[in-house]
Amino acid sequence: MVAIDLTRIAEEIERLERRWASLYREVPSAERAEVRWTASGRTLRWHVCLEDVVEPDIDVEILPRVLVIRARRDTHPESLLLALLPVPSDFDVEQPRLYWEFGYLEVRLSRRSGGGAQQ
């Protein structure tokens, strides 16, 4: 069992959020999707609230330290939901596992092998 340093992950996520904030300006009309994360064991889970979104309208873009979720709302054709999921360096951004249920997209990321908690 790998000890998870939630404080460190939180700091890292917060910092990466600031770093990638410019992506929100990419589509000025986009609305920010509500996002939460949890971490346990070797897994970081992102929960993205995508209300009124039809599942195939979700696009997950994989960038080096961040996943960008763009989703088009079905009810308002012009409305785009945008979410940044910053990925701390010890988690593998390349292999996200995606689950869709009741308007929530869950994105699971695994800790890289060997990437234990620091200190």
Partner: protein
């Protein structure tokens, strides 16, 4: 031939927006990938596509409407779609290209802009050995850092002259694939494999940076080590990491400090512990010895009757106002002169009485 409006489930006076929306919804529902065991779904998907092809084109829709109202049941071939030769199999690409059509200007464009916009630079992580004293008292250390910097050959533009866009991704630098996970569908976007995400055709890329606009470069950076830096501390120097592209900020430089141990000093929080050798007479009678602290030489008062292990404190001579704690080590001479020997023997007789 079926009624296209019925196929899409819209009224004959539906607006182009309504038609798009209806098509999109139904295409999602009947997409063959989603209904692998149902040949019916594939048929319906083809019908949908035919209907949309006609109704989304104003000229063809007018033609179709005229035929439909003129003859109740539209049988004229001209009103229908041109027989699509590749209509047999619907690949993911077909589906995507249709989506591209209807997402058109508002959605698709924001997703797939001509040239990828700027990306923040990467963080660079490095480790640095620092002397005990520098870590304790603070100081400046020069360090060579290699990382990404804006390419000087192309000024960070990544291309030569007015370059052509990458044919694979059309300049977006990204490739979107539809993925199926547990029966659910998403599109996942990654960097285009042909241009590595630059959006520039491989032949037109700046040869120095291969289109990335960034090159590896080693810079000299002066790092200020704060007073009292502990072993394993990571310093974050914001904006000193890899360069960003398109005017987006650079990454951070993360410096993990490894403090070289010093045989003379031992640190506990802000206090420094050090052994001090005290001649036996001074230990017994009291006096003064010179000690080495982080801040230089200092005089330490030895109270009479100090034995080995006694801790004596020099206030404020540690780190950030902490103390220097000297641990007395009574130094007994290993070789005694005749006179010294006599005196010790005399002392031994006196103390044993």
């Amino acid at each position: 031939m079926s009624n296209y409006y019925e196929v899409l489930g819209v009224s004959p006076d539906a607006s182009p927006e309504e038609i798009k929306k209806a098509y999109r919804r139904k295409a999602i529902k009947y997409h063959p990938d989603k209904n692998p065991d149902s040949p019916d779904a594939e048929e319906r998907f083809k019908d949908l596509s035919q209907a949309f092809e006609v109704l989304s084109n104003p000229a063809r829709r007018r033609e179709y409407d005229a035929a439909r109202t003129g003859r109740r049941e539209g049988r004229r071939a001209s009103a229908g779609p041109r027989q699509p030769s590749e209509a047999k199999s619907w690949s993911v690409e077909d589906f995507l290209s249709h989506f591209g059509d209807i997402f058109g200007s508002d959605f698709g464009e924001s997703f797939h802009r001509a040239r990828p916009r700027g990306r923040p630079g990467f963080d660079i992580e490095t480790s640095l050995d620092v002397d005990f004293r520098v870590a304790a008292l603070g100081g400046k250390v020069r360090v060579a850092v290699s990382g990404e910097a804006s390419c000087p050959s192309c000024d960070g533009r990544g291309m030569q002259g007015s370059a052509a866009v990458c044919p694979t991704c059309g300049g977006s630098g990204r490739r979107t694939q539809r993925t199926e996970r547990q029966g659910q569908f998403y599109s996942v976007t990654r960097a285009c494999p042909t241009c590595q995400g630059t959006g520039i055709a491989p032949g037109e890329q700046c040869p120095a940076c291969h289109g990335r606009g960034l090159t590896e470069r080693t810079r000299q950076i002066t790092i200020t080590i704060p007073e009292g830096t502990g072993d394993g501390t990571t310093l974050r120097l914001s904006g000193q990491g890899g360069a960003g592209t398109g005017g987006v900020p650079a990454g951070d430089l993360l410096v993990r400090i490894q403090v070289r141990p010093d045989p003379r000093f031992h640190r506990k929080a802000n206090d420094i512990y050090a052994d001090v050798s005290v001649p036996v007479a001074t230990a017994a009678l009291g006096g003064e010895v010179a000690v080495e602290t982080l801040h230089g030489r200092a005089k330490l008062k030895i109270p009479p009757g100090s034995s080995s292990g006694k801790q004596l404190r020099l206030k404020g001579q540690g780190i950030r106002g902490g103390d220097h704690i000297a641990r007395v080590l009574v130094a007994v001479p290993t070789r005694l002169s005749k006179e010294q020997r006599d005196l010790f023997e005399q002392l031994a007789r006196l103390t044993s009485d």
